[in-house]
C-alpha cells in the first residue's frame, strides 16, 4: 500500500549510479524533494524521463531535488540491473541521482505500483503529491502538469492544486 498524503518520507540509504550511497537526510536542505520510482526498461519511463531532467534543470536552482529509485527485480529483468542503470544514466546525461533499491525494502515502505510514479515531499518531508508527472506520455499532448504545478505551488508557499493522480506506467517488478 502506498504512502498516504501528509505521511513523513521513510528514510533510505541506497547506492547511486555515481558510485556512492545516498540517504534521505542528504537532501534535508532541499525545500522540495521528488522521489520518483523509475527503471530502465519501461517505455513509459523512457517517454517521461526527459521531463524529469527538464524539471530538475528548471527548478534545481530553487532547491528542488529529484531522486529516481529503481526497485525492479533485476534477476527477472536484467535490463534493470545496477550496471544497466549506470549505463543509462551516463548515456542519457541524468542530472538527478538514480538509486538502486536491490532488496526492494525502500519500495516496500513507499509502496509504488508503477514506473514512473512520483512521491513529492515538502520542506518538512511530508507527502504533498503522489502520482503521475503529468497527464500524457506524449509530451505534446500534455494538458495538466501535475508535478510542475505542485512544485510551483510549494515554491509559493501554497498547496499543490492536485494532490493525487493515478500513476501510469509499467508495474514495479517485485521479487518472487
Amino acid at each position: 500500500m502506498s504512502l498516504t498524503l501528509a505521511t513523513e518520507a521513510p528514510p533510505f540509504d541506497l547506492p547511486g549510479v555515481d558510485g556512492r550511497n545516498h540517504t534521505l537526510d542528504e537532501y534535508a536542505d532541499a525545500p522540495i524533494l521528488a522521489v520518483v520510482w523509475s527503471c530502465n526498461h519501461c517505455p513509459y519511463v523512457i517517454a517521461w524521463e526527459g521531463r524529469m531532467k527538464a524539471l530538475q534543470e528548471e527548478y534545481g536552482d530553487r532547491g528542488f531535488r529529484l531522486v529516481a529509485i529503481n526497485s525492479n527485480d533485476a534477476e527477472s529483468y536484467p535490463a534493470d540491473s545496477f550496471e544497466a542503470m549506470q549505463e543509462r544514466a551516463r548515456d542519457q546525461g541524468f542530472n538527478f541521482d538514480y538509486l538502486y533499491d536491490e532488496d526492494q525494502s525502500v519500495a516496500q515502505q513507499y509502496g509504488p505500483e508503477r514506473t514512473p510514479e512520483v512521491f513529492l515531499f515538502d520542506r518538512n518531508r511530508r507527502l504533498v503529491y503522489h502520482g503521475a508527472i503529468d497527464d500524457s506520455r506524449e509530451e505534446d499532448a500534455v494538458s495538466a502538469r501535475y508535478l510542475r504545478d505542485a512544485i510551483e505551488a510549494l515554491l509559493a508557499d501554497g498547496d499543490p492544486p492536485v494532490s493525487e493522480t493515478p500513476p501510469v506506467g509499467c508495474t514495479v517488478k517485485w521479487k518472487g
Binding site: H41, C42, P43, Y44, I46, A47, S76, Y77, R137, V168, G169, C170, T171, K173
Partner: protein, 100 residues
C-alpha cells in the same frame, strides 16, 4: 486474415493499442475480428515467443519484426517510432504497413 493482439495485464498499453488497431482496420475497410490473447505467466510468454505487451501479429507476423526476437518476458514492449521516439504501442504507420 488473422489479427492477434497478445497482451499482459501488468502493462496498461493494450487498450490503446487495440483502439488504434481497430481504427486502422476500420479505415482500411477490413472487417476482421481481433483475437485478444492474455499472456499470464513466464511459461506462456516463452511458449508464445511473447517479447512484451502489446504484441500484434497479422497472419502470425509481428507488426514490428525488429522487436519480435527480444527475449520473452512479462513486460511492457518498447516500440521505436520513425522519428526516434520510444512508444509503448506500435505506430499507426507500422500497423498500416503490416496490413498492406
Amino acid at each position: 486474415m488473422t489479427v492477434e493482439l497478445l497482451y499482459w495485464e501488468g502493462c496498461p498499453s493494450h487498450p490503446e493499442a487495440r483502439e488504434l488497431l481497430e481504427d486502422v482496420l476500420r479505415q482500411r475497410g477490413l472487417d476482421v475480428q481481433i483475437r485478444m490473447r492474455h499472456v499470464a505467466t513466464r511459461q506462456e510468454a516463452a511458449e508464445l515467443r511473447f517479447p512484451g505487451s502489446p504484441t500484434i501479429r497479422i497472419d502470425g507476423r509481428d507488426v514490428d519484426p525488429a522487436g519480435a526476437d527480444e527475449s520473452p518476458a512479462l513486460t511492457c514492449r518498447i516500440y521505436r517510432l520513425p522519428d526516434g521516439r520510444v512508444s509503448p504501442i506500435p505506430s499507426r504507420e507500422q500497423l498500416e504497413e503490416a496490413l498492406a
